[in-house]
Symmetry: C2
Subunit: 625 residues, 2 copies
């Protein structure tokens, strides 16, 4: 075993990843792991959050020699400002995606598009009803117009509370008002955070962090939640179905197209196009046996949840998917798309297509998707992919493994259906200790940590302890590849969880969607709390993002904690230079919102910490161990 090979085995737990990393080495292609080596060691000022570039009197760096920046800000204020903006980046990502969904829905309601339609009328009417919009005896599109307007209001300056706030248990709403963290409007909270963190504005670290909580709650209970609800309305509320996962979903003899990004608006049209007879015929003319569509990251989750489209991989697999040499084209919308994909594609025959004006990539071809041209553009993109098939070099193709089966499609609605229409069986199972609690494991990969090691092992440890696990985002792929997203996985679960999931015919690890769909988990937690008559923070719940990397993950963690759910992170954000912020995150928030963060890189120790918390919460509810 050479030095380099050993290193590859430390990079990822997966065979498909390791094989592609070896191929990358042979093909002379650089990956995120290589770039990480070049960027190591990282700047200690940056890692601890005490480097400030917010004005040109600096940049300033806090040290013993220089404990204050030029303006007079110390470590606490500098960390708070940096972290506030970090959270703002995450809230903006999810919520601007939510706004794009509202614009699509608005276009549908006003008859401005032929390419998008209301697919789940029932859900639309139910939500309109929930938000106080008259539905009785009205035209569907008239209700839709009002609902679109209502959604826009949650982004504005005119409300004291975002629209879906009624879903939050009342006790918590009252607490948020008292703390001044009730989210008013998504964009407003983001702008206010950017304002507060300007030089000479908010210079009290705790006060800035509270605004971070308010802004993140706006993302969770409005921006992301609206994105999820509208996506269900336009493309269908997910229901359980089978799918497959890993690089083996690519096909040797077909035109392979990958969709990557987050918003289903582009990828749903690509899916329609690849199923069109004329385009399949064209692919056959070019020598392929058909067209194969697979997903990456959250756009992949969206298509998988609703349509059962296979998933090629998660964050750290995106470069490796191209390195198979079997991908004709990758079409992206936005977020988490490594800029390197253009260069990796150039090492093969892979074309990269961007679709959103807000996410251009130097070197990629731009095919702008708008409400009135979605289908037309999708066909254009698929034709480009077919053309590329003729350029594929079979000698450079290596598809490393066979796909693994998984189950997907557990929207909140589908989960309720699986439970027979009410939460009672779940609550009974929790009360009886058969399901001791539930944990959402979400988020990304990060090349600093062995790929999917923590995602998979934490999931396994928790189900052993009779804790139901819910996954979204990039953890989906990890759990799927590990064989944990099939009903047979109950064999790896503790006896109680095995009994309940076995009886319901569901896996012990439930796939609830993409990263904006963490709003589904919030909603489920709120439904449980309201049903039992307690706060979310009273429930035996936890969350974890073991291998996170993105601002969105930090924002999700913050809205989850602020919503009362204890949250584990595999590593801290860049806050450790501030005692005030660090202490608040790891403890102080517990007194304010009923939950806090914990940091633990080891998945086995993390499982113990989460287990302790669930014990404590069960005890608080008067339930037996």
């Amino acid at each position: 075993m050479t030095e380099k090979t050993r290193n590859i085995e430390e990079r990822s737990i997966w065979d498909d990843a390791q094989q592609m990393l070896r191929k990358a080495e042979r093909d002379g292609v650089e990956t995120a792991w290589d770039r990480l080596e070049h960027q190591t060691p990282h700047c200690k000022f940056g890692e601890s959050g005490v480097c400030c570039r917010i004005c040109t009197m600096g940049p300033c760096r806090i040290s013993k020699k220089a404990p204050l920046g030029v303006c007079g800000a110390g470590a606490d204020v500098i960390v708070a400002r940096n972290f506030g903006r970090f959270l703002a980046g995450g809230a903006a990502g999810h919520s601007d995606h939510g706004r794009d969904c509202i614009e699509a829905f608005h276009a549908v309601a006003h008859g401005e598009t032929q390419d998008y339609h209301i697919k789940d009328e029932k859900k639309m009417l139910r939500i309109a009803d929930e938000l106080g919009i008259a539905t009785e005896g009205r035209e569907l599109l008239d209700v839709a117009k009002d609902l679109a307007d209502e959604f826009f209001e949650s982004f504005g300056s005119r409300r004291e509370e975002v629209g879906f706030i009624g879903r939050v248990p009342e006790k918590q709403r009252e607490n948020w008002k008292k703390l001044g963290i009730m989210p008013r409007g998504v964009d407003r909270e983001i702008t206010e955070m950017m304002h507060r963190t300007h030089m000479g504005c908010d210079n009290d670290a705790a006060n800035t962090l509270l605004q971070g909580a308010r802004m993140s709650l706006g993302d969770g209970w409005a921006g992301s939640m609206i994105a999820t609800e509208i996506s269900d309305i336009l493309f269908g509320t997910p229901s359980p179905r089978k799918a497959q996962v890993n690089l083996g979903v690519l096909k040797n003899d077909q035109v392979n197209i990958l969709v990557h990004g987050h918003n289903p608006i582009v990828s749903e049209k690509i899916l329609e196009a690849v199923n069109e007879k004329e385009l399949i015929e064209l692919a056959k003319e070019k020598g392929a046996t058909g067209i194969n569509l697979a997903g990456l990251c959250c756009t992949g989750n969206e298509l998988m949840m609703r349509q059962g489209i296979p998933m090629a991989g998660n964050h750290l697999m995106t470069e490796l998917a191209i390195i198979t040499g079997a991908v004709e084209l990758i079409v992206v919308d936005y977020q988490c798309i490594m800029p390197s994909l253009v260069q990796v594609g150039n090492c093969y025959h892979t074309k990269m297509i961007t679709t959103a004006d807000k996410a251009r990539f130097t070197g990629a071809e731009h095919v702008k998707f708008a409400m009135d041209n979605g289908m037309e553009q999708a066909r254009k993109v698929v034709r480009m992919a077919i053309e590329r098939y003729t350029m594929r070099n079979p000698d450079r193709v290596e598809i490393p493994c066979e796909p693994v089966d998984m189950m997907t499609g557990f929207s909140t609605e589908a989960l309720l259906d699986a439970l027979g229409g009410s939460l009672t069986p779940l609550i009974d199972a929790i009360k009886a200790g058969k399901i001791r609690g539930a944990v959402g494991i979400v988020g990304c990969n990060n090349p600093k940590y062995k790929h999917d090691y923590c995602n998979v092992n934490l999931t396994r440890e928790l189900i052993k302890k009779d804790i139901l696990v819910i996954v979204t985002g990039c953890v989906t792929t990890a759990a799927g590849k590990a064989g944990l997203l099939v009903p047979d996985a109950i064999e790896q679960a503790g006896p109680g969880l095995k009994e309940i999931c076995g009886a319901l015919g569901i896996p012990p690890v439930i796939h609830m969607g993409s990263c904006v769909d963490n709003a589904r988990i919030l909603q489920l937690a709120a439904l449980l709390a309201n049903e039992i008559g307690v706060a979310i923070s009273d429930l035996p719940l936890a969350a974890s993002s073991p291998e996170w990397y993105s601002e969105k993950a930090a924002t999700i963690g913050t809205y989850v904690v602020a919503s009362g759910i204890y949250t584990h992170l595999g590593h801290p954000p860049n806050i450790t230079g501030s005692p005030i912020i660090t202490n608040l995150a790891l403890g102080g928030l517990d007194d304010l919102v009923g939950a806090c963060f914990c940091i633990e890189p080891d998945p086995f120790k993390a499982a113990e910490l989460i287990d302790e918390r669930i014990k404590m919460k069960r005890k608080g509810l008067g339930l037996e161990e």
Copy 2:
């Protein structure tokens, strides 16, 4: 002369500043200049913009050894993302201030406050009319309600253009649409910028910079412009009046209160309170002869423009004002308030009061101002100041000089009045070459550059060349202290400017307000362009921010350039690590929007560069040198 003393003379051109720096040394008080020494040398990665902390795969730093971040972003993308967020901080500051003004105006319109009123009904009706709101035969407050709603819309997601866009010359509006930089809604553009700069979103540097232009235009033509217009409606449109400037405005025998920040909503109430007989009597009971209110920075500019309240100093004078030992209390709203002021105040008897929940300072006392308690809270603050007077130690008081006279109050309306009601005399003077052009000199101080050296010398050089200068923000104080804001200053101007200003009885350097009031300059430029029938970029205009430090200054610079006005900066923002962004800023933008930036630390050379540009523009209009 000791080493330290020589150093002090290099820190500022002003006697009052140098005296206070010497006193600071004696009193053992640290200032921004001292902290700058501790923070020097600055991090080269940060200064050139190639350090990225946008996700936890990093932090990454671009160098020859490591030309790409972990995600694959190179120097151009990293600089673009960082600079995009820098501009977002600035746009958010001004525009969230604008939102606060709308909320105040909304409260007045809906009768929710007794403390604020519509002072300039005529202006309100004129603006309502301009924005398409019916005014004829309607109750004033009903018009106000509609106008408040209209203003809120410019912050939302529902418009294709912000409300005041009709002020922009049509040719430029068409160009902005073509370039995709027409601002839609203030908050939306800020959120979209934060979204684009998330990892894996916008990875084309030029595309990100264009969004920077769109967002900044939203600040200039909406956020800031609305702040200015509402402030005029609520507190009166400024008209020419006398005022005084420098630390000599503090009074040895009076209770001295300083207001600092940006928004007049708090300071206007403080001003009312200090004029209340009962409180003046209370001050006299405590041994003072009265209560003296003076301003700092932009809150100071707001009070000076409308009420003639004296100005104690600009950005680098804020610590020094406290070091006089004569300040009982400093009351702040938000932005550009050094966190150090709390500590400097603690070295004397100076109490610091914060008033906005979004700008708390650890160690300061918080007296929250709301729409329904402004007067009550203002009285409370003034009483606190009076109490503090008894704690003043006369042995530690040193007020360093006599105040200098100046003229203020040149709103666009007032300038038109001074011109006899129309722009014709100004246009005639420009055509005749008596006024060769006009330059707005705006912005801050920065301890890296000798305090006010460039602000004052650039102003002097330009008026010598028959170029009319308009000042706002911290440059006001510099020009005022230099004696340039009085009619007699025409003696320092070239013959043409001397003739015109002499005839009109105005100074050759015109004070137009605070930094949000740069919107007044935009409006004036647009009025001129529309009157002549050209684009703003065709006019012999320029702008400069010689000693800027803040994100807001960068945003102002960007909206001014995007509006077609060539802009000089004394030093570059942290963009020099990207050839694409640097070349766009210094040249490429000229082809797109008809203006670009230039960087020149030397005020004499900067004056030449600006003069060349004005010559070129005059030639373009067919005017003689």
